[in-house]
């Protein structure tokens, strides 16, 4: 579980990015961390992983303070960064070198995911395309069975079938003890997998809600015209008419359009 209390952080010679930031997230969730460019998403992920030290306040994850980089904590956290580098070795050598460092690593799970992603263990990592390397990193991350997995823009560089595979594999491999945090701009790629949305702007949480509660409160619809539609909280024009968000009435539920929700939040309509 993540417990952040009164967190402040700023980079050297820069204005504060987080000021009195607090957040609580329980395990067993897939959290979508959304925000505009420069909102502080990647920095928050770095703080959670222990790569940066808070200026003030406290972060506690499963009883550990991340920046102390206790090896038992690091063995239970895996981060898939937006940019990454591999040594010039084969997939199988990488697995042999790094899997022993993660006590809960599951080779069978990795083999299944690699098969699904159509990756050969004999391939040299540096000869694969960016998307293939990212798929390998995702496969490796999921196979570590770490209690916290952090993904920074995981679907960047993936082709359309791979994005769908990613969603399928993610949902099927995550357990109740794990906490997954996905930071992304490509909200459509993850809207069917997350069960909590956190939106940050200028270092503050401007929205956080579980998906279930969102569907209880808001109704997402597509209407040919806005005429006669009441209580529209937010709308966007699209080729088929208007995408709208209205209050959910009489227990009606709809699929969440995460991009529409995000735009509504950013425009302070919700």
């Amino acid at each position: 579980m993540i417990h952040i209390k009164n967190l402040s952080f700023h980079y050297k010679k820069k204005s504060p990015l987080f000021n009195d930031f607090s957040l609580e997230v329980e395990s067993g969730r897939i959290v979508g961390l959304l925000g505009k460019n420069g909102a502080g998403k990647s920095t928050l992920l770095n703080l959670l992983a222990g790569l940066s030290q808070p200026t003030q306040g406290e972060i506690n994850i499963n009883g550990f303070v991340p920046f102390r980089r206790n090896p038992n904590y690091l063995a239970d956290v895996y981060m898939v960064p937006e940019e990454f580098a591999f040594p010039p070795i084969s997939i199988s050598t990488y697995i042999k070198a790094f899997s022993p460092l993660y006590p809960n690593f599951e080779n069978q799970k990795l083999n299944n995911i690699l098969e699904e992603f159509e990756l050969q263990p004999t391939s040299n990592l540096n000869k694969l395309s960016h998307g293939q390397r990212k798929k390998f990193l995702i496969a490796f991350a999921l196979s570590t069975n770490c209690k916290m997995l952090v993904f920074d823009e995981p679907t960047n560089g993936l082709d359309i079938p791979s994005k769908s595979q990613f969603r399928k594999i993610l949902v099927s491999s995550v357990t109740e003890e794990q906490l997954i945090i996905i930071s992304t701009h490509q909200v459509k790629d993850i809207d069917t997998v997350i069960d909590k949305v956190v939106v940050i702007e200028n270092g503050k949480i401007i929205y956080q809600e579980n998906i279930y509660e969102i569907t209880q409160k808001l109704y997402f619809d597509l209407v040919p015209s806005l005429t006669g539609v009441e209580n529209v909280l937010y709308h966007e024009q699209c080729p088929l008419g208007h995408k709208i968000i209205v209050p959910a009435m009489n227990g009606n539920e709809s699929s969440i359009d995460l991009e529409l929700l995000f735009n509504a939040i950013i425009n302070k309509k919700i």
């Binding site: 222990g50 790569l51 940066s52 090896p71 956290v77 981060m79 960064p81 580098a85 022993p100």
Partner: protein, 283 residues
């Protein structure tokens, strides 16, 4: 206190295995390169002909002349420690490897400094003997023909003790040993600067290390000399230095002892400094 968070043998072993699996080709190539290059350098440096002049013998001082430049090769290897800290992307990967900072530090020290030095010494020893055998098989005598048995004395067999104890003084005394250890610790001190260069400087590491090494050495010298001047010569004013340069009964000058002492003690500070810098490293 839970010591497992600082050090665990099994985790350390896994970390070493990880490093060797990732870099074994690089290490093997480095050893092979050092072996071939070392042999060529020593072979070419050895004479073609026995000289009638006794001071031309290939003895301890000649081996020392070879050994010291070869140390630059070891320095380059030690200086490539913590290569994972050369870019932001690699730093995050390295910091998130599930091992304690101490284990990461110790694994680099074990591979780059301890194993590197042992392999360097073995390679130098083997190269020196092979080069000697190769040269002895074709060395000419004073008369222009292949040399006789005198050639075995002319090119001495290499052994490490000749580097330390027979540099200038054939008689071993405690103070000569002290000087020999002083050389080793000075090399170790420079090695420690090179070892931790990437922890402190991501770019232009070697240049910055060189500058900081010289600056630190002189800073310590100057600060201590000023302090001692005020302590032992109360009439000293400001940053003036009062110093008496005198010969000790053991044949050393007092200031030499002072400089050796700094060289002896520097590594004690550098290693913990590098460790804490790594521990506090951020993106």
């Amino acid at each position: 206190m839970n010591s497992n968070k600082f050090f665990s043998f099994s985790r350390f072993y896994r970390l070493l295995s990880n490093d060797i699996l990732l870099n074994h080709k690089k290490y093997l190539l480095t050893i092979a390169g050092a072996f071939i290059l070392g042999f060529i350098v020593i072979y070419l440096y050895m004479p073609n002909q026995v000289s009638p002049y006794p001071n031309r013998r290939f003895d301890a001082s000649r081996y020392t002349n070879l050994f010291i430049p070869c140390l630059f090769g070891l320095a380059a290897f030690v200086g490539s420690s913590f290569s994972e800290l050369s870019s932001k992307i690699k730093i995050s990967n390295y910091l998130l490897v599930p091992a304690s900072t101490f284990e990461k530090f110790l694994s680099q020290f074990t591979i780059r400094v301890i194993a590197g030095t042992i392999i360097f010494l073995v390679v130098f020893w083997v190269d020196a003997h092979l080069a000697r055998i190769a040269v002895l098989s074709r060395i000419y005598g004073i008369d222009g023909h292949l040399a006789g048995p005198e050639k075995y004395d002319y090119i001495e067999k290499f052994h490490f003790s000749m580097l330390l104890l027979k540099i200038r003084y054939p008689v071993i005394t405690n103070w000569r040993l002290f000087e020999g250890i002083g050389y080793i610790l000075t090399f170790f001190s420079i090695g420690m600067f090179l070892f931790s260069v990437k922890i402190f400087f991501r770019k232009l590491g070697l240049i910055k290390t060189g500058i900081s090494f010289v600056a630190t050495f002189f800073l310590i010298m100057v600060v201590l000399m000023v302090c001692f001047s005020h302590l032992f010569f109360p009439e000293t004013k400001g940053f003036n230095i009062a110093n008496i340069y005198y010969l000790l009964s053991n044949g050393y000058y007092n200031n030499d002892i002072f400089q050796y002492s700094i060289a002896y003690l520097a590594p004690l500070f550098l290693l913990p400094l590098g460790y804490f810098k790594l521990k506090e490293k951020q993106l």
